[in-house]
Symmetry: C2
Amino acid sequence: MKPLKEMTHDELSIFYQNAKAEYEACKEKGLKLDMSRGKPGSEQLDLTIDILTILNSAEQCKVDGVDARNYGIVDGLPVCKALFADILSVKPTQVFVGGNSSLNLMYDIISKAYTHGMLHSEKPWSKLDEVKFLCPVPGYDRHFRISEHFGTKLIPIPLNENGPDMDMVEELVKDSAVRGMWCVPKYSNPDGFIYSDETIKRIASLKPAAPDFTIMWDNAYCVHEFDGDFIPFVNIIDECEKYGNPDMVYQFCSTSKITVPGSGVACFSSSEANIDYQRSLITFQTIGYDKMNQLRTVLYLKNREHTIEIMKKHAQILKPKFDAVIEYLDKEIAPLGFARYHKPKGGYFISFNTLEGTATRTIDLAKEAGLVMTPAGSAFPYKHDPDDTNIRIAPSLPSPDELTLATEILCACAKLAAAEKLLG
Amino acid sequence: MKPLKEMTHDELSIFYQNAKAEYEACKEKGLKLDMSRGKPGSEQLDLTIDILTILNSAEQCKVDGVDARNYGIVDGLPVCKALFADILSVKPTQVFVGGNSSLNLMYDIISKAYTHGMLHSEKPWSKLDEVKFLCPVPGYDRHFRISEHFGTKLIPIPLNENGPDMDMVEELVKDSAVRGMWCVPKYSNPDGFIYSDETIKRIASLKPAAPDFTIMWDNAYCVHEFDGDFIPFVNIIDECEKYGNPDMVYQFCSTSKITVPGSGVACFSSSEANIDYQRSLITFQTIGYDKMNQLRTVLYLKNREHTIEIMKKHAQILKPKFDAVIEYLDKEIAPLGFARYHKPKGGYFISFNTLEGTATRTIDLAKEAGLVMTPAGSAFPYKHDPDDTNIRIAPSLPSPDELTLATEILCACAKLAAAEKLLG
């Protein structure tokens, strides 16, 4: 195969005809496939089924000097704080354990910033003339939607394999309207990049003009390797403190992709001052989160070491799925030279950057052929991908057979859309 | 015994000496007791222990065409909507099922009113010059605290055995700054009053000036009889619709005092238009609440009839506790004529109105003697009881033996404080 851009017009016309035929053949199969969301597959759900019955007696409910069945303890059971502290390498006093959703905790913290302000805010963000947030792109759509929902002005920051463009970040935080930044530091969604130590150091040592500049550090994939051993990560709480920014970061994680996706336990980790501040606000919101599920999670996961053992079982299911996609891309797309993608070793996504100006067309073609992909532009603020190039592939949910079919369709669509574009 | 106010000065002096001696005797016992919060007791926790293991297989998780373990379905599993619809006598489409806390849902709805507005709001409440809320008093402290937290101006409304003073409510809602009202319609917290049908009709047919006037209808004790049979309640959603106010009410309930207090399932019920509106906002906040716990709750409670059967078992534990307190009050306090209280048939509290101007002193005395009561004024906006008379008794948590001791202390304190006051 020859790179698309090196083809003569005639070669391209033949390529187009072949791609068209391939696409029509896919379409005729009348399939219904979905590579749009990072949901674990059914094998993964069955892997952890024992968690449902691990908590089964009144005796087990008596922990930390309380009966975990009753009301109270807004910041989480001490045994569950200890579990997350172990997983995240932070102190238990730097952990606040919530309900089943880390996204919910992120939303609540941003919402409270708007209604009541952060610890060092001059006033609630709703009273500020303008609030801007930095968004490494491509990024997690649901992060950006939270900020958009509150009317925040989002500024895209290019993300490369070492993390966000820090020259740009350092420059932008001189604007006091810039109040924070969304980050997925390990296996970034969707690229699967891991921020380098140098990038993390530059983030932790930022000197923002805003007194309440807040890094939303979504460590969603902290122990989520599917290829190779666990890769340790920097303790971002300590790192920020070291550079005189003790209250600048909130770290998030959850067990959703470890135990039961819709029924895991989420937490945030931050300085003790921030934990105290958030507790003082959350006390108005709830008497406490579900401590039975916190306890169930502690009994099941035990500690970081055992959690990593469980993640290896998830890896055995996930790796062949990612491999199937990557192998097909390597074979069918790489030689054509029109697309870029990174082969991640963890996380839930592959970021497929097709020929500029053809992502929307590729995804539309896929939809017509029965394959649902995340809508074009989703990984960008305001759903606007300026280059119309990024396609997020989520290989976790389909079965391996479905995945092969789905990747075949996607590649056929990408080739056809690219050929259409180049032929003009 | 003679009513306190009919006693001569000498009789009162003797009464004071006896009360003082009784109080000192209580204090010397060096007890540590708590009648401050409406927590179920340990027998109640054990009653429902089987819910922990009722959901135990992958097969059970496949309901309503989905695998309940995975992400999604922000407004709750259809089977769980059906359960709450049955309990509340509403349509499943009028139900939104959330997480473990109805208070959290109330907070979230109020918070969203401030950041985004209600369905019929002209603008978010944070952009209004003033927001006022009506608060039947005495009422539930955590309701009032939510409103206070957002800077709402709270207006107390006297509550009698038929519900809030509706003449006053009808007058006040002519002010467009009045945006809503907190209600606990069945077994009001703390009095245990049930709003009369006439009161409910007047509430449903209000003509508020504010287009987004919202009744926060906390049906916390909808099936929570401990004395006698289940008492049916009016369907407030239909009732409001009947009078041309289809979107005026949000009803809340939870299974916290039915299954596991800290790990029940909460819901709100409202018009379909309101459900759609809230879903459109909550979609930014979470991918979905804990569906495993929703499913567990459905398998355990089954339907309203079976839920009421379970409530009868709770009643067997609760009734003797309430009886113990009421019997002691009837014997030791009633003949003295200085206090008012109502004997509830459901709910979690007894509202004890002691001699005006002595509630704070009574509670302080109790604290010194080792008995923790809810702080004076808690049942009022801004924690201010203008008559300093109301004391909320929560008899559910202590054991029967502890309860007898606690009531003895409370009565000794109330008598002593009353005598001190009358002696000047």
